[in-house]
Symmetry: C2
Subunit: 313 residues, 2 copies
């Protein structure tokens, strides 16, 4: 299942409106097929793995990070039917598909066809893997990552606006990788005018992963998709994962409306003192309200900088 | 030597103007004496360990975190002479004593008396252990620890001044322990008037470790020792380790005058947004000047807060 989750990870931020799924087919202890949801959502992971396995799929076990779909779509057949037709003997799944067109139906149809089905294996990791899909489904909006790169004292720039660079090359490369895992990046007008950000992915081999660029602004801007308020992210079709990159006013607007699911923090071992803060008002009226909202989900050193990921409690 | 360093640690922040030293006496694989510099600087570690060992010191090895003193003082005999008289066979030291009254003389006199001497064992740890003594000797001022307790976005209070509490009970207990490892704590007038800090050590068994209280202020204040500028810390006799506890103006004044040797950061997993920053202007005129000054020396989780110690590069 960990191998299947690894394959699912390849599609993070590229498969909306479909979930990014991974599939590994194993027969007699040997991997005979591997698949993951392709960019734009098709082919599905199971279809890709079955195509790779061919006749070797007969009698194999399919490890899937999500229940195989049970609905035929104009874009392709139902994966459950493909697995049955290929003679799969057993399905091990991480979780059921909340999509009402499947939601247990994939498992049921597979069982009716004589396939042994197990589910719930590594479910927490599988849920995290498709957080974009699940957030869109449960809340009707993309999963939102807020990225902040600060000094130890929480500054994002000097008083004159100088902000290049606070973090080092490893942290900046990691931030580019994070971009490639989101369908879109959003900035505010202040960042657009001050930094004229390219918002591309400057990593060898990933240059074509540049996400869509969204501007939070009351007035339209050539070359940008523009939304007038954080709540309007719900209307961004084809975007299940959105990264908010700044600046302070935009970050604060998303926090104040409680639309941030994950904090991606990069922190350099420097002190700036007087300068621009990472955030402005976010709607707190007492310290007690600030506590208990975030829990540390991941951390590592990137050169001399520290990366931390906090998730909404 | 690690055991001797552990004993030396008991005296951190209590032995000025003397260094906090540890001593372990071992004979035939058995510890026969343990000593550490007592509060106020006397007795010395070796004297204490020898008194404990009595006749068992004959033929023993003395592990000492600093070269034994070679000078007789009105407050006690020279430890080198005590070790010779006790019949110590071997001295293993972490480092030489930079005090010009000893500075190699202790080792030389011991060798002349037929004692085998090794030095340089765990020297880096031993130097860190007596950073207060070494800073006083090299720079004529105390070693300065700057403590900051902030939110993830670098705030130390809400706009209305509310700052209790940002960090949790484990981090606050650790900060009290840190207080007990300094001879004095310094705050500015703003903190005095806003928070009326007690600056005591509220830890079971350590209540009597309350450091001296210093106020950075142009005007005197009853019950406080007052200094008018950060540079005046040089005049604070009997203080080799000073902890600067706030507020932002005081912290910034110490950073701007380059008088901070160690940052002790506590960071809570909360966002505050609009509020009081940890620092004001610290004299930077470009980001490049901020880099390379600090390196991470220690870190750990304290409940859901993170403690980090940075040392001057």
């Amino acid at each position: 299942m960990d191998a299947a989750l690894g394959l699912a990870g390849r599609g993070v931020g590229r498969t909306a409106p479909n979930p990014n799924v991974g599939c590994v087919l194993v027969r007699e202890g040997r991997v005979v097929g591997r698949g993951w949801t392709q960019a734009g959502g098709r082919p599905h992971a199971e279809a890709m793995a079955l195509a790779q396995a061919g006749d070797a799929a007969r009698g194999a076990t399919a490890y899937v990070t999500l229940e195989p779909c049970a609905h035929v779509s104009p874009r392709g057949p139902a994966c459950t039917d493909l697995l049955i037709a290929a003679g799969i003997a057993r399905i091990v799944a991480a979780m059921g598909d909340p999509d009402p067109r499947t939601d247990g139906l994939g498992f049921a149809r597979a069982r009716a066809a004589g396939i042994a089905v197990t589910t719930g294996v590594r479910e927490a990791a599988a849920r995290a893997m498709i957080a974009g899909f699940l957030t869109r489904r449960a809340q009707g909006r993309p999963f939102v990552t807020l990225k902040l790169a600060t000094s130890l004292d929480g500054r994002i720039a000097r008083p004159d606006g100088e902000s290049r660079w606070i973090t080092g090359p490893q942290a900046r490369a990691h931030a580019h990788l994070a971009r490639s895992r989101h369908e879109a990046i959003l900035v505010g007008r202040g960042t657009l005018e001050t930094d004229a950000p390219r918002l591309d992915v400057r990593l060898p081999g990933l240059e074509d992963r540049a996400p869509r660029r969204i501007l939070l602004s009351r007035s339209p801007e050539p070359g940008w998709e523009t939304i007038a308020s954080p709540h309007a992210i719900a209307d961004l079709t084809g975007i299940d994962r959105l990264m908010v990159e700044g600046g302070a006013r935009t970050a604060s607007a998303f926090l104040a409306t409680d639309l941030v699911d994950q904090l991606l923090l990069y922190r350099a071992p420097i002190l700036i003192g007087e300068g621009h803060p990472a955030l402005h008002a976010i709607g707190l009226t007492a310290l007690a309200q600030a506590h208990g909202r975030w829990r540390l989900a991941d951390s590592r050193m990137l050169g001399s900088d520290r990366m931390e990921v906090y998730e909404r409690n």
